[in-house]
Symmetry: C2
Subunit: 330 residues, 2 copies
Amino acid sequence: MSDVAALAGVSHQTVSRVLNEHPSVREDTRRRVLDAIATLGYRRNVAARALATARSATIGVVTTGSGLFGPASTLIAVEEAAREQGWYVSVATIRQYDGVTMHRVLDHFMDQAVEGIVVIAPQADVAEAVHEFRAPVPVVLIAAGETEAATIPLAVDQRLGARLATEYLLDLGHESVLHVSGPGDWLDAVEREAGWRSVHEERGITPPDPVGADWTADRGYQVGLGLADQIRTGEGPTAVFAANDHLALGMLRAFWERGVSVPRDVSVVGFDDVAGSGHFVPPLTTVRQPFDELGRRSVALLLEAVAGAQVGAELIAPMLVERASAGPPP
Amino acid sequence: MSDVAALAGVSHQTVSRVLNEHPSVREDTRRRVLDAIATLGYRRNVAARALATARSATIGVVTTGSGLFGPASTLIAVEEAAREQGWYVSVATIRQYDGVTMHRVLDHFMDQAVEGIVVIAPQADVAEAVHEFRAPVPVVLIAAGETEAATIPLAVDQRLGARLATEYLLDLGHESVLHVSGPGDWLDAVEREAGWRSVHEERGITPPDPVGADWTADRGYQVGLGLADQIRTGEGPTAVFAANDHLALGMLRAFWERGVSVPRDVSVVGFDDVAGSGHFVPPLTTVRQPFDELGRRSVALLLEAVAGAQVGAELIAPMLVERASAGPPP
DNA sequence: TGAGATGATGTGAGCGCACACATTCGACCA
DNA sequence: TGGTCGAATGTGTGCGCTCACATCATCTCA
């Protein structure tokens, strides 16, 4: 920096002013400094800047270690939004969501002196672990479910998404909808089930017991094989709401293998709108989550909080994507 | 740090020694310092450390901004491997792969003083842009295709993967294999086509002209519709090697809609083994890329290079995953 | 015409750490 | 018992920047 100052014939402080866009610098000296910077190929040292200002201009993002579409898309949106505002983004991934690992990852971020954290945290214990950690910086917790202090909750409205799917099926004329639910320790799964249930209750319908599952196409296939037999004997459901698209995919395959026609014999609706779901056999009606917006909003909220503002919980609305896998009952 | 030193009754330098695991510190003073650190909740300031050592302990990863399975999985593996070794990982994503954007992103990393960069760069111009940038730190370029100096190339052997798929189909008895290729500016696509072509040439077969496509299921569907008509009139291919699983998915749907049976009327092989491809209709035979290993190797190579070692190009072998979508010709 | 206000610039200090060097301590052997 | 050597510890300095403050030039209006 002093080299630049020397070349431009000013003091180091004036260089600093130019760099920080301080208003009171005359246009021609500004130009001179900028030229000197260019000819010297000078680049401000972040470490020194961070040391002097006690600010790192970095946010941390913890995300799932599974390459899933949703978390990955959210991460990308977060990064873009952050970089646009001049922030650096550090990531940490978690394969196994337990309190210890979560703690370690948050520690990793605190070591790095991040100024805020976004946690893409789909499981209940993760949310808890985050709360327990009591981070000294703002934390945006992307997680469905009930709010807690100490973090800023933000989520796609899973319950609404499930309601959209369920209402759509009931409005098509189905008497009730079977739910193939996600794992019970995932907040999204719990919320989706709650949304599905609430629609039935509002309409005075007793829904069939949900079938418990994980998030995999394998499990969907298994469940689908079982249902196919019931459907062929006429005692199965006429409409199924799967907790995610992968489950739905496995079920579609099972139905296809067993000669159960979708949507003629049974309607299927998924959740997520994963890449390619528009070309499943048949194309899958599903609920699309606006991950981009989720990422952008999380950065906006976080940066507001970092700047000292009080920010509250937010919910983002998903939307139903109508395709061919759902129709009126047989 | 001086607080810790005072509490432990030692000098700040001794604290520094404990932190850096210097050997000549007596066990009991080490203990005392550690206790003091714990009671004070002291955390070393990375900025000051970076300033003093001129090292940031950070690597940058630039990846695609599309939430695709491959890049996302690679990123995760990179991050895990790096964190394990005590490195921080900063990310930057690119939606649009042009030279300018690439330049901007690499600048972003240089501003941040990263010590090494991993570029997950599937397109030819990206690789070029990276070379042109002439980064002052080691760069691992995850990209198929020819090697260049200035970066450390690393890739999954796309050509081998394509050969695996093509040989598998020819060995099943097909006279030739039609290739539905990816976009020509993607290195992976070029390599896959080259692998497919080389097998035909070795066996003295003239392959049919490849059908150009992008990476999407939509395009696969279009292509599939066209092929279905040919196949039903007996003049279509008996085996198709799609450049990726999404293309294959779209084709499978088109075949299904047009009553073309897979694999009875036509065999289909994909590339990637995306989540759920085992439950496509029918389950898709495809080529699996070891993204985890790719990520781990890239970090290993990068850290070696950062440490000053000379490291060379590497190729990682993919594997064929046999499922139901390919069989003998009709 | 001069005092005050404002804008443009310079000066010095300190952020918290690691490095090079100086010093102290203790053990061991002649 | 003194000398030597190495282990253990302390002292001072500088990394490159921003901040608070001081200074100087310029303009405005009474």
